[in-house]
Symmetry: C2
């Protein structure tokens, strides 16, 4: 096994992922756990991290650890204060050093980014953006980042100019699992033509979305609307409403989509229906690439 030179960490609300890296930037090993920020108190972070990386530690040397994500929030291990737009994604210089008990590690947390007006925040996506720009340094346009809280990010001259977050993913989860609509989603399946119709309806009349949501329940009761059609239309209505609101971001723009492939493809199709030919980005190493860029700048400037 190659010698581990540093540790990359993606630490979100629900999950913890670590990569043991060698000096040339290759992954030596990787591990994950469900010890996300949401289940840890402040004292629990170091223990959770050590439980995954102890094999790489040695007496007499200090291993750098570079983290991103909700671990840097006020409820996290240590608060890494937001950068403010317009700004480049954070590099090692912007990292917050965390006080630790174990002398064999030196831990840094990358900050998130805030926007004052209109108010918005990101934590984690900024490192994906850094990873994307590390591979596509000349990108100028808009990143669409579908997820629980979908981000639309305007990038120009390697800077994040502005961004806007939509609660689409969280709304889909709440409505499909906790609302009255859950009764009409009892089986799986996803009908694409229902997605297309819902998308088109919401883009045309976004003000009717909350009525059309109840229409799914009513359609199941009085018009035998099937679960696959409900799921497709629910997704189409919510993404359609988002695309309607995000129009200033994508209209006439160069758009790249960064996210879970299945979800990204729904956004790609929605944008295609509006005449926008968006690129799907391979997200396999995107966060790791951002952490690597941060480590390189840390090495030059801090370590």
């Amino acid at each position: 096994m190659a010698e581990v030179a540093w540790i990359a960490v993606d630490w979100g609300t629900s999950n913890l992922r670590v990569w043991a890296m060698d000096a040339s930037g290759q992954v030596v090993d990787t591990h994950g756990s469900d010890q996300g920020m949401g289940v840890l108190d402040r004292e629990g972070f170091e223990t959770a991290l050590l439980s995954l990386i102890t094999p790489y530690l040695a007496q007499g040397r200090v291993l750098p650890v570079v983290c991103c994500g909700m671990v840097g929030s006020r409820q996290g291990w240590a608060e890494a204060a937001y950068l403010s737009t317009p700004c480049a994604p954070p590099d090692g210089q912007n990292a917050t050093r965390v006080a630790v008990n174990d002398p064999r590690i030196s831990v840094f947390i990358l900050p998130g980014i805030k926007q004052i007006s209109p108010p918005d925040v990101m934590r984690g996506e900024e490192t994906q953006i850094a990873g994307y720009l590390a591979v596509n340094p000349d990108f100028d346009g808009v990143l669409c980042m579908p997820g629980t809280h979908t981000k639309w990010v305007h990038i120009s001259l390697k800077e994040i100019v502005s961004f806007q977050t939509f609660m689409t993913g969280e709304m889909f989860a709440l409505l499909s699992k906790q609302s009255v609509l859950r009764h009409c989603l009892v089986s799986s399946g996803f009908d694409q033509s229902s997605f297309d119709a819902g998308l088109s309806d919401a883009l045309g009349r976004p003000q009717l979305v909350t009525a059309q949501l109840f229409g799914l329940r009513a359609g199941a009761l009085v018009a035998d609307l099937k679960p696959a059609a409900v799921r497709g239309r629910l997704s189409g209505l919510l993404i359609g409403a988002e695309l309607s609101g995000a129009r200033p971001y994508w209209l006439g723009q160069n758009v790249a989509i960064i996210g879970d492939p299945k979800m990204s493809d729904l956004y790609r199709k929605g944008l295609a229906a509006q005449g926008v030919d968006a690129t799907l980005v391979d997200v396999a190493d995107i966060t790791l690439n951002g952490l690597k860029a941060a480590y390189e700048s840390l090495k030059e400037q801090v370590l």
Copy 2:
């Protein structure tokens, strides 16, 4: 105690309310329980009812019981098939008779109303509408019925012409209790000026509502937005989006609001900001009045 001539029952998903009525239409007594449709299986309904009305039963005579609400849904005691718009609110002639074990009661359930296109349903509100029309027989205009699922109902010539349901109340509950926004609603309070601003923003740009919802979280994190302001603005955004979608119902119309007084007043203020002077209806006896009207027609035609 005056002799009980019949029993009125409002039986929803969460609650059961019974009124013991004399022959002149006066309330002799009333009782409630939490034995709503949602917690009962089909065999449980008769027991739940008897547990509240046994004191009024006597051997050798049959007491009529008139019910409305989710008790008549497919998951209820017995399915009372929907009437279809356009139609008058149901009267006793439309009631479904339920098979019971106890010979001392004769149970009738009033149907809900469905609309085929666009698909929509109500169960319970139709009896409130009947109660309103019993007192205001010449009403011509629109009823706004705020609640978990707010209904807008076009009434003309004593008929329900069309209606539209918005999930506003359920969305408020889900977002304020289950979403990421719950973190910025830790204390109570309701800021009216934040409501007004949210309402105006959503009416102007309903397509931005899901972005503005996340903006509440971001505002709390980066701009010290207080819980009372978050709650006011959340309510304003959701009601504003609804008013935007319901514009064809209220624009230039005679509007009466039937619902919880606090909630109704928010709708009244929202409509007033759009130049519509809506009437607040006293809802104290409205469902009971609808059940009384149904009992009168049952007495004439069935009993």
